[in-house]
C-alpha cells in the first residue's frame, strides 16, 4: 500500500515538475509575444472575431473591412474624421468641365509591399475588377465608372457614365485599392483573399485563421518614416471578459469591441484608457409598412413617440452613445444639425395618434430578434415595456440571424431591429438604400415616397454642395415624418488600451489607420 501510494505521488510530482518546467520555459517565450517585452516593436490588438476574406473587392463584413487600410490604399481616402475625401496615392486630380472625366496624378515611385512598382496597368486592372466582380457587394460604388485608362504609370483617367457627386467618396472605399495585376492573376480570387498585396503601411506576414494576423511593416511604404511600429498582431479573443483580462494583465495593448457596461470601469481603473471613437453606426427599428396597422403613418409616428430613446441609451449603452433622431448618423457629412426631435418621447401624444388611426386599444405586433445578440434582445424587451403603455403588445421571438435576415428581405416580418454603418464618406450609400425603392424596397420597409425618391436621385448627381445639403435636409425631414424606420441610438466604437498607446485611429467608417500607432 505504502509503496503504491509513494509511486503514485512520485508520478504526480514528476508530472507537475514536467508541467512547471514547460511552464517556466514558455513563460519567457510567451511574454516574448506579449505586449510588454516588445516595447517598440510589436503592438498586439485583440478583437472578438477573425477576418474571413481580406481581398478588398470581396470583403465580407466589418472584420474584413476595418483591416483593409492596413495593407491596401486607393487613389483617394476618407479623412480621419470621415467627413471628406483627401488625397492618398493620387496627389492631385483634375475634373473636366462636363464633370465626366477625372484625371488623377499618382505619386512618383510607388511600390507594392512585394517591391514591384505600381503601374497604370495595375490601376486599370484593380478598378475594373472592383467594378465588374458580380459577387462583390461593393461593386455598386463604381457603377458610374464607364472606363479607366492610364496614359502613363502616374496618370489614371476615369470616365463616368453620368456626373456623380459621390464619385471621389466612392473611390475612397477599400474596394478601389490598387493591387498588382500580375500577382492577382496568378493568385486568383482564393489566393488574393488569403494574402492580398497592396501599397499600405503594413503587409500580411502570417495569418492563422481564428487565431491571429501578423502585419509587418511595408519596407516600400511611400510615407517616409511610417509606420511607427514594426509589427501589429491582431489576435482573436471571442470572449469579452477574457479580452479585457488580457489587457489588464498586459498580454495585449489594445482591446476592441469592449462591452458598453465595462467602459466606465476600465476608464476609471487608472492603468488603462477607454475610448469612444465616433462612428456612423446607427441602430434603428425597421417597420414593414406593407402590414396592417403599420401601413398607417400615424401609427408609425405613435410608435416613435412611445419610444423612450434616452432610457435605451442609459440602460443598453450605459451612456456610451447618443439618442438618434435622424436615420442619418450625426457623423454623416449631410446630417442636418437643426433637425428637430419631432417625435420626442410623449406617451399622451402617442395615444392620441393611435386614437386618430382608429386603434384606441392598441394592437399586436411581432418583433423577431437574432438569437445571441444581447443588445437587440435588451432593446426588444425595453420596447415591449415602453409600448405596452400605449396598448401595443410586442410579441418577441428569437431566431437565428440567417432566418431573421430571410424574413427581412422577403418582407415577412412586422418589425425588426437593424444597424447601419456607412462605407463611404458620402451620404448617397445609405440614402440610396433607404429611399430609392428599386434598390432594396427602401431598406426592406416596403414604404414608398416619390418626392423623397426624386430628391435622393437628384442629390446623387447634383454637384453643388449647398444644393445637396438642402436636398438631404428635405429628405431627413420628410423621412422623419413618414417614419418607415425609427432611429434609436448612435453608438461609438468602444476601444480600451494601455495608457502608453498613441495614434490609434479608426475613422467613423470603421477603417483602421495605424501609420502613427505607437507605444510611448
Amino acid at each position: 500500500m505504502k509503496k503504491s501510494v509513494r509511486a503514485t505521488l512520485l508520478g504526480l510530482l514528476s508530472f507537475s515538475v514536467m508541467l512547471s518546467s514547460i511552464g517556466c520555459g514558455s513563460q519567457t517565450s510567451t511574454s516574448g509575444n506579449t505586449a510588454n517585452s516588445n516595447a517598440s516593436k510589436q503592438i498586439v490588438i485583440a478583437r472578438n472575431a477573425d477576418s474571413a476574406d481580406l481581398d478588398p473587392v470581396n470583403a465580407k463584413d466589418n472584420n474584413d473591412i476595418w483591416m483593409e487600410n492596413l495593407f491596401a490604399e486607393g487613389l483617394v481616402q476618407s479623412s480621419a474624421d470621415g467627413k471628406k475625401t483627401e488625397p492618398a496615392l493620387a496627389k492631385s486630380w483634375d475634373v473636366s468641365a462636363d464633370k465626366l472625366t477625372y484625371t488623377f496624378h499618382i505619386r512618383d515611385g510607388l511600390k507594392f509591399s512585394d517591391g514591384t512598382p505600381v503601374t497604370g496597368e495595375d490601376w486599370i486592372y484593380s478598378l475594373k475588377r472592383a467594378r465588374d466582380t458580380k459577387s462583390s457587394q461593393w461593386a455598386f460604388a463604381l457603377e458610374d465608372v464607364k472606363d479607366v485608362t492610364a496614359p502613363d504609370n502616374t496618370t489614371v483617367v476615369i470616365t463616368l457614365k453620368d456626373p456623380s457627386a459621390a464619385i471621389l467618396s466612392d473611390l475612397s472605399m477599400f474596394n478601389a485599392s490598387v493591387m498588382p495585376k500580375a500577382y492577382c492573376e496568378k493568385a486568383g480570387d482564393d489566393g488574393i483573399s488569403q494574402k492580398p498585396i497592396g501599397t499600405g503601411p503594413y503587409m500580411i506576414s502570417v495569418w492563422k485563421k481564428g487565431e491571429y494576423i501578423l502585419f509587418k511593416k511595408n519596407p516600400n511604404y511611400w510615407q517616409k518614416g511610417k509606420p511607427l511600429t514594426d509589427e501589429i498582431k491582431v489576435t482573436v479573443v471571442p470572449d469579452d471578459n477574457s479580452r479585457i483580462m488580457q489587457l489588464e494583465g498586459g498580454q495585449i495593448d489594445v482591446a476592441t469591441n469592449v462591452p458598453y457596461d465595462q467602459m466606465k470601469t476600465i476608464g476609471s481603473s487608472g492603468k488603462l484608457q477607454a475610448v469612444n471613437l465616433p462612428s456612423t453606426e446607427v441602430h434603428y427599428i425597421t417597420i414593414n409598412t406593407t402590414k396592417k396597422n403599420l401601413n398607417n403613418g400615424k401609427v408609425r409616428q405613435a410608435l416613435e413617440y412611445a419610444t423612450d430613446k434616452d432610457a435605451l441609451v442609459k440602460t443598453i449603452l450605459f451612456g456610451n452613445g447618443t439618442k438618434a433622431i435622424s436615420f442619418l448618423s450625426s457623423e454623416d457629412p449631410h446630417f442636418d444639425n437643426n433637425l428637430p426631435d419631432a417625435h420626442a418621447y410623449n406617451v399622451d401624444k402617442a395615444k392620441d395618434l393611435l386614437k386618430e388611426a382608429g386603434l384606441p386599444n392598441g394592437f399586436e405586433v411581432s418583433l423577431v430578434v437574432p438569437a445571441g445578440n444581447s443588445s437587440a434582445q435588451q432593446t426588444a424587451t425595453m420596447l415591449k415595456e415602453q409600448w405596452a403603455k400605449i396598448g401595443v403588445t410586442v410579441n418577441i421571438s428569437q431566431l437565428e440571424n440567417a432566418a431573421v435576415s430571410s424574413q427581412y428581405k422577403s418582407l415577412q416580418y412586422d418589425i425588426q431591429l437593424h444597424v447601419w454603418t456607412n462605407d463611404i464618406t458620402d451620404t448617397t450609400e445609405w440614402v440610396d438604400y433607404a429611399c430609392i425603392y428599386e434598390n432594396d424596397k427602401n431598406s426592406f420597409t416596403g414604404w414608398k415616397n416619390d418626392q423623397i425618391e426624386a430628391w435622393a436621385k437628384q442629390a446623387k448627381i447634383e454637384l453643388d454642395e449647398n444644393k445637396r445639403m438642402a436636398l438631404y435636409k428635405n429628405i431627413q425631414e420628410a423621412f422623419q415624418n413618414d417614419a418607415p424606420l425609427i432611429p434609436l441610438y448612435a453608438v461609438p466604437y468602444t476601444v480600451a488600451m494601455s495608457k502608453n498607446i498613441t495614434g490609434f485611429v479608426q475613422t467613423p467608417l470603421g477603417n483602421y489607420r495605424f501609420q502613427d500607432l505607437a507605444r510611448k
Partner: protein
C-alpha cells in the same frame, strides 16, 4: 483470426453509417431557414449580387446535383471549400483539429490524474466522511457551468497569480501545452465528476465480490488484489464512459474555446452553422462521425483486452 475478421466486419459496417450521416447532414442543413448567400452578403447585398453569390456557391443547382457533388467530392477525399473563409475545409479542419486534439489529450490526462485516485479513494471509503467530501466535491464540479469556472481560473491563475497566460494558444509546442492547462482543467472537471461517481460505484461493488474476499483469504498482497482484481474490473465500465467523453471532447467545446480564445473545431462548426457555410458543417460533422465510430470500435477492442469473457466475433 477471429479478431481480425471482427475488425474488418466492423469497418465495413461503418460505410453505410457514414453514408446515412452524409444524407442526414445534407438534408438538415438545407431544412433550417436562412439562405447562405443572404447571410454572406448581409443587408447590403443587392438582388443581383445575391444571385451571383448563389451561383458561385452552387445553390442554383438542384438538391440532387448538390448532394451528388458533395458525395462525389467526399469519395475523392475532398471536403469542399468554405465560402466564408475561401479555403478548403480540409485545410481549416487540419488547422483547428490540432488545437482540439491537444485540449482533449491534456484534459484526458488531467481527468485520469484527478478522477482515478479520488474515485478509488471514495469507493473504499464509501459512507464515511472522506467519501462524502469527494462525493460532494464532484457534485459541485459537475454543476458549475464551465464558462464560469474558466473565467474564475483566468482571474485567479492568469490575472492575479500570473501563473498561466490569460487565454490564447501560444506559438511553440511548450507554449501550446502550457496554455492548455487551464482550459484542460476546466474541461477535465466535468469529466472527473462523472468518472469519480462511476469508479466509486464500481469499486464499492467489486469490494463486495466473493473473488476479492477469496483473493485476500488466499493471502495475496493488497497491491496485487487492487491492481489485478479491483482496478482491472473497474476499468471495464470506466472505459466506455471515458471513450464517450473523449469522443465528445473531440467535437470541440464552443464554451471553452470562446473563454480561452482557442481556435478549435467547436468554434469553426458554430461559425459554419451560423454563417450557413454548408461545406464547413458537412465536412466537420462527417469527420466527427468518423471519430465517434472509430472510438466505438476502439472501445469494443479494449473491452476484449480488459475482460477475457468478451470475444470479438
Amino acid at each position: 483470426m477471429n479478431e481480425l475478421n471482427y475488425i474488418i466486419k466492423r469497418l465495413l459496417q461503418i460505410i453505410p453509417v457514414l453514408f446515412c450521416v452524409t444524407v442526414l447532414i445534407f438534408i438538415m442543413m438545407r431544412l433550417i431557414p436562412g439562405d447562405p448567400a443572404l447571410v454572406m452578403l448581409g443587408d447590403k447585398g443587392s438582388p443581383e449580387t445575391i444571385a451571383a453569390m448563389r451561383h458561385q456557391m452552387g445553390l442554383d443547382q438542384s438538391y440532387l446535383t448538390q448532394y451528388w457533388i458533395f458525395l462525389n467530392n467526399l469519395l475523392h477525399m475532398n471536403l469542399g471549400k468554405s465560402v466564408y473563409y475561401n479555403q478548403p475545409v480540409s485545410e481549416l479542419i487540419q488547422q483547428k483539429i490540432l488545437v482540439t486534439i491537444t485540449l482533449t489529450i491534456v484534459s484526458t490526462i488531467l481527468a485520469i490524474l484527478i478522477s482515478f485516485p479520488l474515485g478509488y479513494l471514495s469507493g473504499i471509503n464509501r459512507g464515511n466522511l472522506k467519501g462524502q467530501i469527494i462525493n460532494a466535491g464532484s457534485l459541485v464540479a459537475v454543476s458549475l457551468p464551465s464558462f464560469w469556472i474558466g473565467l474564475l481560473f483566468l482571474i485567479l491563475f492568469g490575472l492575479k497569480l500570473g501563473w498561466f497566460p490569460i487565454a490564447g494558444w501560444g506559438q511553440t509546442w511548450p507554449e501550446h501545452i502550457y496554455s492548455m492547462i487551464l482550459p484542460g482543467l476546466t474541461q477535465a472537471l466535468a469529466t472527473c465528476a462523472l468518472l469519480i461517481r462511476n469508479i466509486q460505484n464500481s469499486v464499492s461493488d467489486i469490494l463486495k465480490k466473493d473473488y476479492v474476499d477469496f483473493a485476500y483469504s488466499k493471502g495475496l498482497p493488497r497491491k496485487i488484489v487492487r491492481s489485478r482484481y479491483i482496478i482491472k474490473n473497474v476499468m471495464v465500465s470506466t472505459v466506455t464512459l471515458f471513450s464517450m467523453r473523449i469522443a465528445y471532447m473531440l467535437g470541440g467545446s464552443v464554451v471553452i474555446e470562446t473563454v480561452f480564445a482557442l481556435p478549435g473545431i467547436g468554434l469553426l462548426l458554430l461559425q459554419g452553422i451560423l454563417g450557413r457555410d454548408y461545406a464547413i458543417v458537412q465536412g466537420t460533422v462527417f469527420i466527427f462521425a468518423v471519430i465517434v465510430l472509430a472510438m466505438n470500435l476502439f472501445t469494443d477492442i479494449s473491452y476484449s483486452i480488459l475482460d477475457p469473457r468478451v470475444k470479438l466475433q
